[in-house]
C-alpha cells in the first residue's frame, strides 16, 4: 500500500513545472537526524559568537521536551525528524555581483524564470540556495540610506547589537516545537533593517529553494522598521522533486515601530512532498501598519497562521490569505490578530480553492484584550469547492474581552454553479476555460494586492494547477 501511494505522488510530481533538480555540490552537509552535536557543529561552522550557540542549545532542549501539536492536520504525524539533514552549506564565498554567482546556482534562477531586467530593477535580490544565502545585491542608494538587507548569518557577525536586541523577542523558542527546532538549527533567511523615516520604494525580494534530498530548510528572517519608515518584503519559493518527504520550518519575526509600515508577501509553491510548518509573527507599535499577504499553492501540508500583535494605540493589521489545494494536499492556513491596545483595527480576508480531492482549512484567531477600547475587526473567509472529492474547513476563534468594540465575521462555502458554467460556455469557452475564469474571478480581489510580477506568476501557477481538474 505505501509503495503504491509513493508512486502516485511521484506520478503527480512528474508534471510539476518547477520540479527540476540541479546536481548537488556541497561543502558541508550534516548527517541525518538531530543531536546536540549537530547543533554545536552548525554554530561552530558558522563561527558564531557564544551567545548564539547558547541560544541554539537552549532551543534544542526545548525542542526535545516539547510535544508535537495535537491539533491541525492529521498529516502532521508523518513528519519524521530523524530523517532530515539539519544543515547544508553549498559554497563558502558570498558574491556581491551577479557575475560572481556560481553558474550552477544561476541556472537554478534562470529556470525559475526571474527575468534579467527584473533582477537589476528590483532593489535587492537575496537568493537563498539551500541553507545559506549565496547572493546578495543591494542597490547603492539603499545602502546610503542605511538600509540593511543581508542574510541573517551575516547580520549576526556584522550587526550583533541590533540582532541581539530583537532576535527571538517576537517568536521565542518556547512558542511551539517547530519554532524551537528552527531556533536550534536555523540557517540563512533575511535580515532587514530600515532606519527611521526611510521609505524603500521597491519591494525587497528573496527567492528560496530547497535542493538536496531531505534538505531541511530552517531560515530565520528578522525585519525591523524604525519609526515612520516603510518596506515591502516579498518571498517566493519553488522546490525540486524529491522521493522522500522534506521539511521546511521557518521563523519570521517582524517589528513595526511607531508610524511605520511593513508589507510581507509570500508566494509559497513548494513541491508536493514538502511539510511547510512555519511560524510568522509581527508586532505593530503605535500607529504602525502590518500587512501579511500570504499565498499557499504548493507543499503537501502547510500549517501557517501569520500573526499580528497590535500593541500600540491606533495600530492596524491586515492579513490576506490565498490557499489552493489539489490532490494529496492540505493547506491549513489562516491568520491571528491580537488587539492589545485601544483604537486598533484589523482585517482578515481569506480565500481558498479545493480541487482534485484537496483540502483547505482556515484556522483563525481574533483576540481583543480587555481595555482595547474602540477596536474594530472584520474577518471574511470564502471557500470554493471544485468537485465532490475536495473538502474545506473553517475554524475561526473569536475571543472578545472588551465590550466597546465592533467585530464582524463572515464565511461562505460555494461551488462553481452550473449556471455560471453554462453561461460562459454558451459564449464559446471550453469547460476548462470557463472554470479557470471563475476561479480567477474568485481570487482576483486578493491577487491584485500582489506586486505585478507576482500576480502574473500566481495566475500562471493557478492555471497550471487547474489543468485536468475539471471533467
Amino acid at each position: 500500500m505505501p509503495t503504491k501511494q509513493q508512486s502516485q505522488i511521484t506520478g503527480e510530481l512528474a508534471n510539476y513545472k518547477y520540479g527540476f533538480k540541479v546536481e548537488e555540490k556541497y561543502q558541508f552537509k550534516s548527517g541525518k537526524g538531530l543531536t546536540e552535536e549537530t547543533v554545536r557543529l552548525i554554530s561552530e561552522h558558522k563561527k558564531e559568537p557564544r551567545w548564539m550557540l547558547d541560544f541554539r542549545l537552549k532551543a534544542y532542549k526545548i525542542f526535545m521536551e516539547k510535544p508535537m501539536p495535537t491539533w491541525g492536520s492529521p498529516l502532521l504525524k508523518e513528519v519524521n525528524f530523524e530523517n532530515i539533514h539539519y544543515y547544508i552549506k553549498p559554497t563558502d564565498r558570498k558574491s556581491r555581483s551577479w557575475e560572481d554567482v556560481p553558474a550552477e546556482i544561476k541556472n537554478t534562477f534562470d529556470r525559475l524564470g526571474v527575468p534579467q531586467a527584473e533582477r537589476k530593477f528590483l532593489a535587492g535580490v537575496g537568493a537563498q540556495y539551500e541553507s545559506e544565502t549565496v547572493y546578495h545585491s543591494l542597490q547603492k542608494h539603499l545602502e546610503e540610506k542605511g538600509v540593511i538587507f543581508v542574510d541573517t548569518d551575516t547580520a549576526v557577525q556584522k550587526y550583533p547589537d541590533i540582532v541581539r536586541k530583537y532576535f527571538a523577542t517576537v517568536v521565542p523558542p518556547r512558542d511551539n516545537k517547530l519554532a524551537a527546532l528552527n531556533s536550534a538549527v536555523w540557517s540563512g533567511g533575511s535580515f532587514v533593517y530600515i532606519p527611521r523615516g526611510v521609505h524603500v520604494e521597491l519591494p525587497l525580494q528573496a527567492y528560496f529553494r530547497i535542493n538536496a534530498e531531505n534538505a531541511g530548510q530552517f531560515e530565520r528572517t528578522l525585519i525591523i522598521a524604525e519609526e515612520g519608515s516603510s518596506v515591502h518584503y516579498t518571498e517566493g519559493c519553488t522546490a525540486p522533486i524529491y522521493a522522500t518527504d522534506s521539511l521546511h520550518s521557518a521563523v519570521v519575526e517582524i517589528i513595526v515601530h511607531r508610524g511605520a509600515r511593513i508589507q510581507y508577501t509570500t508566494v509559497q509553491n513548494w513541491s508536493k512532498n514538502v511539510f511547510n510548518l512555519v511560524t510568522k509573527r509581527a508586532i505593530a507599535h503605535e500607529d504602525a501598519t502590518m500587512m501579511w499577504l500570504d499565498c499557499n499553492i504548493g507543499s503537501k501540508l502547510t500549517m501557517k497562521y501569520p500573526s499580528i500583535y497590535l500593541r500600540g494605540r491606533g495600530a492596524r493589521g491586515e492579513i490576506l490569505s490565498i490557499a489552493f489545494a489539489n490532490r494529496d494536499q492540505h493547506q491549513d492556513a489562516g491568520g491571528k490578530i491580537y488587539h492589545l491596545a485601544p483604537d486598533t483595527s484589523s482585517i482578515i480576508n481569506a480565500k481558498s480553492v479545493s480541487t482534485g480531492g484537496g483540502r483547505t482549512s482556515y484556522r483563525g484567531m481574533l483576540h481583543i484584550a480587555e481595555g482595547a477600547e474602540r477596536s474594530r475587526s472584520r474577518v471574511t473567509c470564502d471557500a470554493l469547492l471544485l468537485d465532490h472529492d475536495s473538502s474545506t474547513d473553517t475554524y475561526p476563534t473569536m475571543q472578545i474581552n472588551e465590550n466597546n468594540v465592533a467585530v464582524a465575521h463572515e464565511a461562505t462555502v460555494t461551488k462553481i454553479s452550473e449556471e455560471q458554467l453554462f453561461y460562459l460556455m454558451s459564449r464559446g469557452l471550453s469547460e476548462q476555460e470557463a472554470s479557470n475564469m471563475i476561479v480567477n474571478g474568485f481570487l482576483a480581489p486578493l491577487i491584485k494586492e500582489f506586486p505585478m510580477e507576482y500576480a502574473l506568476e500566481l495566475n500562471r501557477l493557478i492555471a497550471l494547477e487547474m489543468e485536468g481538474s475539471i471533467g
Binding site: 471544485l386 475554524y395 473569536m398 472578545i400 464582524a408
Partner: protein, 211 residues
C-alpha cells in the same frame, strides 16, 4: 446524555431550558424547531447538543437565546451533522452578557461526503453590556461535499449608540432606549418561534435572568 429521535414525517417544537448534552436524530422528512435557553449551574459544565440529520429532507431550525449576569458562565456547543441529501440546518444564536458573565460557544456545521443539496448556516451575535463581560465563539464548518449552501456569520458589539440617540430624539429616556434595544436583540429571534406559548416562556425567562 439524552437521546431523542424525531420520527419520519413529523413536526416538533422542543425547548431545552437546562444545561445538558443531547443527541437528536432527525429521520426522513422530519421537521424540528429547537430552542435553547439556559445557563450553567457550575462554570466548568458544558452542554453539547448534536443534531444528526440522518435521512433525506430532514429539517432543523435551531434558536439559541442566552443571557448572563454576575459571574454566570454559559458554555455550550451545537453540532449539526448533515448525513443525507437535501437536509437543512440553520442555527441562530444570540448571547447577551452583563457584569462579569462569560460565554464560550463552539458551533459546527458538518456536511459529510456524498451528500447533495444540503443547506447549512450558522450565525452568532453577542452583545456585551459591561467591560468585564467576555465572549468566545468558534463558528466552524467542515465541508466534504460541494453541492452545498453553507456559511456562517458572527458579530460582537455593544448597544448601538446611534440607535439609542435616535430613540432619545423620539422622547424616550436613556434607560428606556437601552432597554428597548436589549429587548429588540432577542425579540428578533423570539418572533421566529412558531409557537407563541414557547416564545412567551423564553421571553419571561430571559427577562428574569437579566434583571
Amino acid at each position: 446524555m439524552t437521546t431523542i429521535t424525531i420520527p419520519p414525517n413529523t413536526k416538533q417544537i422542543l425547548l431545552q431550558n437546562k444545561p445538558e448534552s443531547r443527541t437528536i436524530t432527525l429521520k426522513k422528512d422530519s421537521h424540528l424547531e429547537y430552542i435553547m435557553s439556559f445557563k450553567n449551574s457550575h462554570p466548568e459544565e458544558k452542554s453539547i447538543v448534536t443534531f444528526e440529520l440522518d435521512e433525506e429532507n430532514a429539517h432543523v431550525e435551531i434558536f439559541g437565546l442566552f443571557t448572563g449576569k454576575d459571574s454566570d458562565s454559559i458554555k455550550f456547543e451545537t453540532r449539526t451533522i448533515h448525513k443525507a441529501d437535501n437536509t437543512y440546518g440553520h442555527t441562530t444564536v444570540r448571547t447577551m452578557l452583563k457584569d462579569g458573565a462569560v460565554s464560550d460557544y463552539f458551533g459546527l456545521i458538518r456536511i459529510e461526503k456524498n451528500t447533495k443539496g444540503t443547506d447549512g448556516h450558522l450565525s452568532h451575535d453577542a452583545m456585551l453590556l459591561s467591560k468585564q463581560a467576555k465572549s468566545k465563539s468558534v463558528p466552524s464548518l467542515e465541508i466534504e461535499a460541494n453541492d452545498v449552501k453553507a456559511g456562517h456569520s458572527a458579530s460582537v458589539g455593544q448597544v448601538d449608540e446611534e440607535a439609542v440617540f435616535y430613540l432619545r430624539s423620539r422622547g424616550l429616556s436613556e434607560n428606556q432606549a437601552r432597554e428597548l434595544m436589549i429587548e429588540g436583540f432577542f425579540e428578533e429571534l423570539l418572533g421566529k418561534i412558531s409557537d407563541e406559548n414557547t416564545a412567551q416562556r423564553v421571553r419571561t425567562q430571559l427577562h428574569q435572568s437579566l434583571n
